[in-house]
Subunit: 456 residues, 2 copies
């Protein structure tokens, strides 16, 4: 029962058996099938079911389990279920969700449905939800949970443990306890570990840590993630402008943030603008809309290149073989530039770049570009001569390649810095400009070198 | 003292002042400067110092703090310091490091230094280190810590708390406690939270959870990360082939794994092969070596394309303007293909793709490609006609663009599945093959359509 292999087996069993049991109307069998299964795996099995069966399966769960499973469901399934819930079920499930998960769900629902749901929540939960909905998207305020345990510094260890016993079920995280003063300002932190190993009658003021790392409600979620990662924390307290404690961001939310941000970066580098939704669940029009923008920009770039090439028509008519090397030059330039911009963009978004300034990074990349250009250039000269037998053309291609590789490295490494300085997303902006620089300037370099070499 | 803004100020102050104080030999001042600073921030400040000063600054720290700071240092600085450590310091710092961090350091040191260091460790720590070093790189065995608290199910809550008091300092994580049977097999898990809220004389068997999610020592670290993320855990127990508990992977290590793996994926998509080191700390020869492989592959691809173009020399000599649209067609095809492969590769590496089969994904991408090709094709026909005034050429370009977009989408979405099926890394393998398919086949399609349209 404990090994991962058996665990994966169970997961697959549930996914294959649940539908069969429900179709044969064997609800008792389905219920017992789900007993040893983890909530996230039950959620996965429910997502696999046809829509009509989802609510049936969901109702087999105990109240406590239903809430957990619901939090793990995809937001599309959450939305479908909510339409089918009775008033009573909304109270049981949505009211008991943790506020940050609830806000994530409400973000995706139509405003009208959100208003109806808010009315059905208990006053306490409604207040918590409204608080979170009041903060900007992608900030600490939006992803935090307002359910934490806060204590006064005069409490003793044993009083505190008693309090935790009472409040444990209401708080998402109890491994860190926050100590506040009379104005609700955060003054210290006590870990459950500290509590357990301390003498029962010590006051918290004696065991708490006073240097607390905290963030503001309007801190960007990416910085929240970096901070938790940097200090190896399980949770991070969130304070308002007056340093009053208002919530806590937990490490499990941070893992999801890091992964979502990485996906956004990867998509941006691959030429897709996304708004964080799952690509594979979008309809094809949304897909086309998100992809076509970037393709258009690059199309315009390529048209420029085409225009440059056709302006050299007389040269091409004399030595038509020059055209054969254009894809090689622009292609290699594009690849060198993509490599440089990839490492710089990723470096800017993680701690890898540390404190190397732009000048140092761009200088390094220029040298790397020259090195790569020289290696590839020599190969290309031999290759091109062997292929076409025209030494002047071959040398033109080789020299151009060195120049283009340096140009591409410099553009690829400097533009991300520039865009960040201008407050634009480097991952999204860099590629089109790098391609333009490399293609247009690269082709011009090539034709001019060829003109000199061929004495035309 | 608690807000993030003040915190960042302090960080910057330390970085700017530490060197000044050390240079003026004001060791007492430097020491007091570091008192309120978090270990990771001290590590950062030490990394900034010239090498000769690093060991001086390090020796200002208390023993307990020195160990923590050392774990946060870059491995290059850790290595430089270790050469300067006295035998006594090695015992104090390296011996006290957590075993997983120590193994990460040992992985980078020369074998001879590792042997010397191992001799200086206490027998207990030497054993823990050797155990971890025995597992394959990038597996759970290598990243786990063997320092966890394991208990018998007959222990009562109060006995357990007593035990934690004694062992807390030796264990990296005490929020989960693991219950094992007589053969050291994992049979249950108790959270510190469960302990605190339970009656003192209950036995663990009554409060523990028996359905434990665990992994094997040889599980790939990426799967370890997925599992922790999926089940929202703070730590994950690691068992051997006989289901015996041998270690624990903690969530802070998992965050680093997720980020490293994302960087590897991003680099691979950008055409760099990395081995997980920080790109900005590599020397330029390593950089060139890691980048040139992919550039060579693409160079060969581009030479193919060049060869195809030059084989059409007679056609080009008749209608030289056809050459002007080659970059546009191959460029757009490459971009459409890159978009498709980006989403599929990221989908394979996260849970986003869920259980959509290859056929469904490739079919979807083919339709998206046709849609994008049609939109762009119409624009290009107008544009090309306006630019060159040759309608037959313009229509050839437009039709080719639709065909190439579909081809690129299908290649871009199907090749990652194929490479994964063959056990190769899709992120690393896909791009060259997609480019080849799009460039070579795309240019052939273009020339043949042009031949028909121009009746040549």
């Amino acid at each position: 029962m404990t090994t991962s292999a058996k665990h994966t087996e169970l997961r697959q069993l549930v996914r294959s058996q649940l539908l069969l049991l429900l179709e044969s109307n064997n609800l008792q069998g389905a219920k017992s099938l789900l007993v040893p299964v983890q909530p996230v795996d039950i959620a996965e099995a429910i997502e696999d079911l046809p829509e009509s069966m989802q609510v049936i399966a969901f109702r087999l769960l105990s109240k406590a389990e239903a809430i957990e499973v619901y939090e793990y469901l995809d937001s599309s399934v959450q939305q479908a279920l909510i339409q089918k819930f009775k008033r009573q079920e909304v109270r049981e499930v949505v009211d008991q969700m943790s506020p940050d998960d609830r806000v994530r769900l409400f973000d995706e629902l139509p405003a009208k449905v959100v208003r109806q749901l808010l009315e059905q929540l208990s006053p306490e939960e409604r207040q918590a939800t409204n608080l979170l909905l009041g903060y900007e998207e992608d900030t600490a305020g939006r992803v935090m949970t307002p359910e934490y345990i806060s204590l006064k510094e005069t409490f003793t260890v044993s009083e505190t443990i008693e309090r935790i016993r009472q409040q444990a079920s209401k708080s998402e995280i109890i491994y860190y306890l926050y100590v506040t003063n009379a104005s609700r300002q955060l003054v210290g932190i006590v870990s459950l570990r500290d509590l357990v190993v301390s003498e029962p009658d010590l006051p918290l003021s004696e065991i708490m840590t006073r240097d607390v790392v905290s963030i503001h409600t309007d801190t960007d979620q990416e910085e929240v993630a970096r901070t938790i990662q940097r200090y190896d924390l399980l949770a991070l307290p969130v304070v308002d402008r007056e340093d009053r404690l208002v919530g806590v961001v937990t490490v499990d939310d941070v893992i999801d943030i890091i992964e979502r941000e990485a996906t956004e970066d990867i998509y941006a580098l691959g030429g897709l603008q996304t708004d964080g939704d799952n690509y594979f669940q979008m309809n094809l029009w949304t897909v086309a809309r998100q992809r076509v923008v970037w393709l258009f920009v690059l199309l315009i770039t390529n048209t420029f290149t085409g225009w440059i090439i056709s302006s050299q028509q007389s040269l091409l008519e004399q030595v038509v073989i020059l055209a054969a090397f254009i894809p090689l030059l622009t292609g290699t330039g594009g690849n060198v530039g993509a490599q440089s911009s990839t490492v710089v963009i990723r470096g800017l978004n993680t701690d890898d770049l540390n404190d190397l300034g732009p000048a140092k990074v761009v200088g390094r990349e220029a040298i790397a570009g020259a090195l790569l250009g020289a290696i590839l250039g020599i190969v290309v000269i031999v290759w091109a001569y062997f292929l076409q037998g025209n030494l002047a053309v071959a040398i033109s291609v080789g020299i151009s390649l060195v120049a283009i590789a340096v140009l591409a490295s410099v553009a690829g490494s400097s533009l991300p810095f520039l865009f960040r300085y201008l407050g634009l997303d480097p991952a999204l902006m860099s590629a089109p400009f790098i391609t333009t620089a490399v293609d247009v300037i690269g082709v011009l370099i090539y034709f001019n070198i060829a003109r000199v070499m061929l004495r035309l």
